[in-house]
């Protein structure tokens, strides 16, 4: 009973399809002008509607479903806190002072440019913390500072009274001498043995400052583009960034200064969103830079990266479109040897694309970085409709059919194949919509709908155009020798017949080889790798990662009180993957009572020393050499005169010694005048730095009380405390490069153990990449499944279905082998081609199997016939269309072009070589549902051809 029902339903389906095609054929041949008018009107409406309403969105957040909590929180934080997701200007100056001057001037320029900029943040006004700044030193640092001030009191006094490199090294040398003499004398008198009753514990001598100072001097003398880095931290302790650097935003090694810019939002959102502001910032940088020799500066941050990516993609898409158009047109001309056919096909495609854009505007309303390539995608997928249609029409006309009969012939045969392919591909894209990723869902809807609309254009606009054109420009039969590449295809068919076993064996080997490379196929998670080589925002991001401890990608979390923020910050900072946490917690020191008393205890040690240093004396090179030479004797490797308890760590000694040797050697080899200049400059930086720290110390010795929330500088408060004061933001910076997958996964996983609601760029990136990847894989799977089912429903035979799927399957396997050969990885951009390959690949198989069933001829005849040529032309135009993407600078697009070209090429070879060979022996009747019946006027001729074929 079910079998009979299936047979009945199958017959009804076939009958319905046949009636619909007959109706369409009659409609087109009877009312071509009316159809063209209606279609033209619809096209105009679509273009107008699209131009008025379609938007472009560039953010990656726009690819994710807005119901995701991490996305909602990220958007919420962006509204409630200042400074999230700003454009970051990175400055790498020759020295710190130059950097400060540049940043100040750039800020002034940008603040005046209210057209493009709403806020500039480059310096924290710490005046509200005046008197309390030393509370940002930890209790241990404060104790160490006290010990340093006690132990090196003479040195500090000398430096404040007579600052200069000579004084500094003389004082250090004397300190070392004192220490050694002390030990030597005690050794001589037997005073070095510990007391019997209570052995005294003594700390090693701290030579960290000496080591850092020598290292800096060595770098100054040996590095051409030397940038000063403070060695004083080893003496004064590591002060908080907040009170360091005069309030400027500086990387921990003082290599970079940062300036944050809030660009003015453009009213016309689109790819140009933010781009105008970023371009204005870059112009300002370029105009200022000549006045600062040796300084480099650039723009980065998520906004700049997104904008550069979108602009790069847009530019590439335009170039690719031109290359693609020229290439495809040339191919059409080569195949058809006539202008009219390419013209008809392109016109039909243009109409189909216009309708698609109207459909996109109506249903989705915007394009994203994924769907912006809908036009080339549809060109690649739908151009075969027109190609197959026209190729068959030519064939029918060359058989002597008049225009009406020829069109009926096309509808009765080829349109069935085109429709089957179109519906299959559309269904594949519909299946993609099942993926849990908004970007993919939109792609599925747009591409699937677009294919059907292109099909609609193919069965309306194209035949109507043919009818009208035949009226004014009648078709003429081409001479045999002018049939496009007939000889080539004929030769190919012969070659296939003669060498079929060899070809089959080669195909088998190729397949096995490709399968062996499957384990090497991987997915590149690093979005920076998609960007064009040399993209400014990427280069600066990489430079920050290479030289600093943090990238511009920070995760975000919130707390409901400063106390909770402190607890959370401590928990985050305890994670191995976290470098640092910035929050209101970091702005309010802990253990403040203890710190206050420790700070006050410093006062007697420095109060009698001058608050302002005199100008350093010129460097006396000869005296400096003598002092360093004397120091060298004391830092000798086999110096046994160190008090065992006070001897510094051997590593530190070795490093200090090595740097000392470098400095001494430098002073011997560098010309005296050059060395003098270098050291004068170094001395200037060193003592300006010392003065800053000394002033900071002197003016903060008597804190009036603990630091409270009210003391926090307003620019920072707005960044860490929400507008209504109810939330406190934590910015969590990763330790490793979280553009790479494993560090990113580790970072996100660990953060979620502390707070499941953590969000921000790394989390969104992690989730979106995972969703995109899973979406494509899931979508690809669904698409393949849907295609297999629809192909079976279309062909109604298991054997034919498997044969139709063969080019696709083989092509995909071979593509993996090509990827290995070309060193190509899957990435976020080129995964989009997976459903495309499936869509394109299946069409070849369906058309060839349809034609085989229609004609009963496999092998060479199938290759040399119009279907073989159409499949070839379709594949080549697709390869040219997508291959044109390889002109792109943006690597993501380049990789799309390369992957799809390789895949379509592979599918084409499988379609033209392997499938026809297998069809030599394939049975015409398989198992399954009843076979499709051709239209009545074709059935007799077909039967005749089959009969003669069997004979």
């Amino acid at each position: 009973m079910p079998s009979r029902l299936m047979t009945y339903l199958g017959r009804r389906l076939v009958a319905g399809e046949r009636e619909l095609l007959q109706f369409l054929a009659r409609l087109n041949t009877t009312y071509p002008q009316t159809i063209l008018c209606v279609c033209a009107l619809a096209t105009v409406l679509c273009v107008f509607y699209t131009a008025r309403n379609l938007q472009f969105v560039t953010g990656r957040n726009d690819l994710i479903a807005s119901d995701k909590r991490y996305l909602q929180l990220d958007e919420e934080y962006a509204r409630e806190f200042m400074g999230i997701d700003q454009v970051v200007v990175v400055v790498e100056p020759r020295d710190f002072q130059q950097g400060k001057d540049f940043v100040s001037r750039l800020a002034a320029v940008l603040e005046r440019d209210t057209t493009h900029v709403t806020e500039v943040f480059y310096r924290i006004d710490t005046s509200s913390l005046e008197g309390k700044k030393l509370l940002y030193l930890t209790p241990d640092d404060l104790r160490a500072l006290r010990e340093s001030l006690e132990e090196y009191r003479d040195l500090v006094r000398d430096l404040t009274v007579l600052p200069g490199l000579n004084t500094l090294f003389r004082a250090i040398n004397q300190q070392v001498s004192t220490g050694m003499v002390s030990h030597l004398v005690s050794g001589f008198l037997g005073l070095d043995a510990p007391a019997r009753e209570a052995p005294e514990e003594r700390d090693p001598v701290q030579i960290g400052f000496l080591k850092s100072l020598l290292q800096e001097m060595a770098r100054a003398l040996t590095t051409p583009a030397y940038r000063y880095s403070s060695p004083w931290a080893d003496f004064f302790g590591e002060a908080d960034e907040l009170i360091e650097n005069d309030g400027y935003l500086v990387s921990s090694d003082r290599r970079f200064l940062f300036l944050m810019v809030e660009p003015r939002e453009s009213e016309e959102a689109g790819f140009a969103e933010g781009a105008a502001s970023i371009a204005a910032i870059r112009r300002a940088i370029a105009e200022l830079r000549p006045a600062f020799p040796g300084l480099e500066a650039g723009v980065t941050g998520t906004k700049a990266l997104d904008s550069d990516e979108a602009l790069s993609a847009q530019t590439d898409a335009q170039v690719a479109a031109v290359v693609s158009f020229i290439g495809v047109t040339l191919l059409y001309l080569l195949f058809f040897r006539k202008l009219r056919h390419p013209l008809l096909i392109v016109t039909t495609l243009a109409v189909g694309l216009s309708w698609t854009m109207g459909f996109v505007t109506l249903t989705v309303g915007h394009l994203t970085i994924i769907t912006v390539f809908v036009a080339p995608m549809l060109l690649g997928l739908a151009d075969d409709f027109g190609v197959h249609f026209i190729a068959r029409y030519e064939e029918e006309r060359s058989r002597g059919q008049d225009v009406v009969a020829a069109l009926h012939g096309v509808f009765g045969n080829t349109v069935r194949g085109i429709s089957a392919g179109a519906f299959t591909t559309a269904l594949a894209f519909a299946a993609v919509m099942l993926a849990d990723f908004r970007g993919m869902q939109e792609l599925g809807l747009i591409a699937g709908g677009g294919i059907l609309l292109c099909l609609l254009a193919t069965v309306t606009v194209l035949p109507a155009c043919v009818m009208v054109m035949e009226t004014y420009w009648p078709w003429k039969a081409a001479a045999e020798e002018k049939v496009a590449l007939a000889g080539v295809f004929s030769g190919l068919g012969t070659a296939i017949r003669k060498g079929r076993w060899v070809l089959l064996a080669l195909s088998g080997l190729l397949t096995l080889g490709a399968l062996a490379t499957v384990p090497t196929v991987s997915f590149d998670y690093n979005l920076l790798n998609l960007q064009a080589h040399g993209t400014e925002s990427v280069e600066w991001e990489l430079r920050i990662i290479a030289h600093s401890e943090r990238s511009s990608r920070d995760a975000l979390a919130t707390a409901s009180s400063p106390e909770e923020a402190m607890r959370k910050a401590a928990a985050f900072e305890a994670l191995p993957s976290v470098e640092t946490v910035e929050s209101v917690a970091a702005l309010i020191p802990t253990e403040q009572e203890e710190r206050i008393s420790l700070v006050r205890a410093l006062a007697p040690l420095v109060e009698d020393l001058p608050p302002v240093l005199a100008a350093p004396s010129p460097v006396d090179l000869a005296a400096l050499r003598r002092t360093l030479d004397s120091l060298r004797l004391k830092l000798r490797e086999d110096n046994t005169e160190w008090d065992p308890q006070r001897k510094p760590a051997e590593d530190e000694l070795r490093e200090a010694r090595q740097s000392l040797y470098t400095v001494i050697e430098g002073l011997q080899t560098v010309p005296t005048s050059v060395a003098q200049t270098i050291l004068e400059h170094f001395q200037q930086e060193l003592f300006r730095d010392f003065q800053e720290k000394w002033s900071l110390l002197r003016s903060n010795l008597n804190p009036p009380g603990p630091v409270t929330l009210a003391d926090i500088p307003p620019q920072l408060a707005r960044r860490f405390v929400s507008n209504d004061g109810s939330k406190f933001l934590l910015q969590i910076y990763p330790k490793k490069n979280v553009w790479e997958r494993e560090p990113l996964e580790e970072f996100v996983t660990q953060l979620r153990q502390v707070d499941p609601d953590v969000t921000g760029s790394p989390i969104i990136g992690y989730e979106s990449i995972r969703a995109i990847k899973d979406g494509y894989i899931e979508g690809g799977f669904y698409a393949f499944l849907a295609i297999a089912v629809v192909t079976f429903l279309t062909l109604r035979r298991v054997g034919d279905t498997l044969l139709a799927l063969l080019p696709l399957s083989l092509g995909m396997i071979w593509t993996l082998g090509w990827m290995w050969l070309f060193g190509l990885q899957f990435n976020l951009a080129n995964l989009v081609v997976v459903p495309l390959i499936i869509g394109i690949g299946i069409e070849n198989g369906i058309h060839l199997v349809h034609r085989f069933r229609e004609e009963g001829e496999g092998g060479p005849a199938l290759v040399a016939g119009s279907t073989g040529r159409a499949v070839t032309l379709f594949s080549l135009t697709t390869m040219v269309g997508f291959g044109s993407l390889m002109v792109a600078q943006y690597y993501g697009i380049f990789s799309i072009g390369l992957l799809l070209t390789l895949a379509v090429g592979s599918v084409l070879v499988a379609s033209l070589v392997v499938l026809p060979l297998l069809l030599f022996h394939a049975p015409l009747q398989g198992v399954g549902m009843p076979s499709a019946h051709p239209l009545p006027e074709e059935s007799l001729a077909q039967e005749k051809r089959r009969a003669s074929g069997r004979r």
């Binding site: 003499v181 030597l184 001589f188 043995a193 007391a195 003598r626 120091l631 004797l633 000798r636 086999d638």
Partner: protein
């Protein structure tokens, strides 16, 4: 090792600071040269030991040194204790500092760079150098007493050895006791003998 030898030399020099030099009318630089020459010619033989004893007894006023470094403690000692302490210092100079200083100076070059005389006081500066190991400045302070120049202090890169010696001894006395100081010095002597 050279540092240790250098130190020993410095300590010897420090010890002799209080000694009324048997100046024989020489200049301050000549006094310093005589001392260094005696140290450099030292050999570990009975004859040499006798020579050292003779030189130290003739040139070093160990008693004044002892009195200076012990400070107020000196007055609290009995005459016998004071004599013992002076002898202890003398033995340390002879048996510890002298041999090591001799060894130190063997491979080094000594350059007398400056001699400054200011009334009854004088400074002599020397540069002790080694080609591979750098240089160190050793200064000598001298005072004229009864027509003779005597060495009052030795400075290693301007760091006074005598001051350091006095400071350390006072610290040990304050922390432990005079007996503790003497015990340590005797142990050192036993260790080096």
């Amino acid at each position: 090792m050279r540092i240790r030898r250098l130190t020993s030399f410095c300590v010897i020099a420090a010890v002799v600071f209080g000694v009324v030099s048997q100046g024989w009318g020489e200049t301050p630089a000549e006094i310093v040269k005589q001392l260094i020459g005696s140290v450099r010619s030292y050999k570990n033989t009975d004859n040499s030991a006798a020579q050292v004893r003779k030189v130290t007894e003739e040139t070093l006023a160990i008693q004044e040194l002892a009195q200076h470094v012990l400070g107020p403690q000196w007055g609290k000692l009995s005459a016998r204790e004071q004599q013992d302490f002076v002898q202890l210092l003398q033995d340390l100079v002879q048996k510890v500092a002298y041999p090591k200083s001799a060894e130190f100076f063997r491979d080094l070059q000594i350059e007398f760079t400056t001699e400054r005389v200011n009334g009854n006081e004088a400074e002599v500066e020397t540069v002790v150098s080694h080609p591979q190991e750098g240089v160190v400045t050793i200064g000598y302070r001298l005072r004229q007493k009864a027509g003779r120049w005597v060495i009052t202090d030795v400075l290693l890169d301007d760091v006074s050895l005598v001051t350091n010696l006095r400071t350390q001894m006072q610290q040990v006395i304050a922390k432990e006791s005079y007996q503790g100081l003497v015990r340590r010095m005797r142990e050192k002597l036993a260790e080096e003998s």
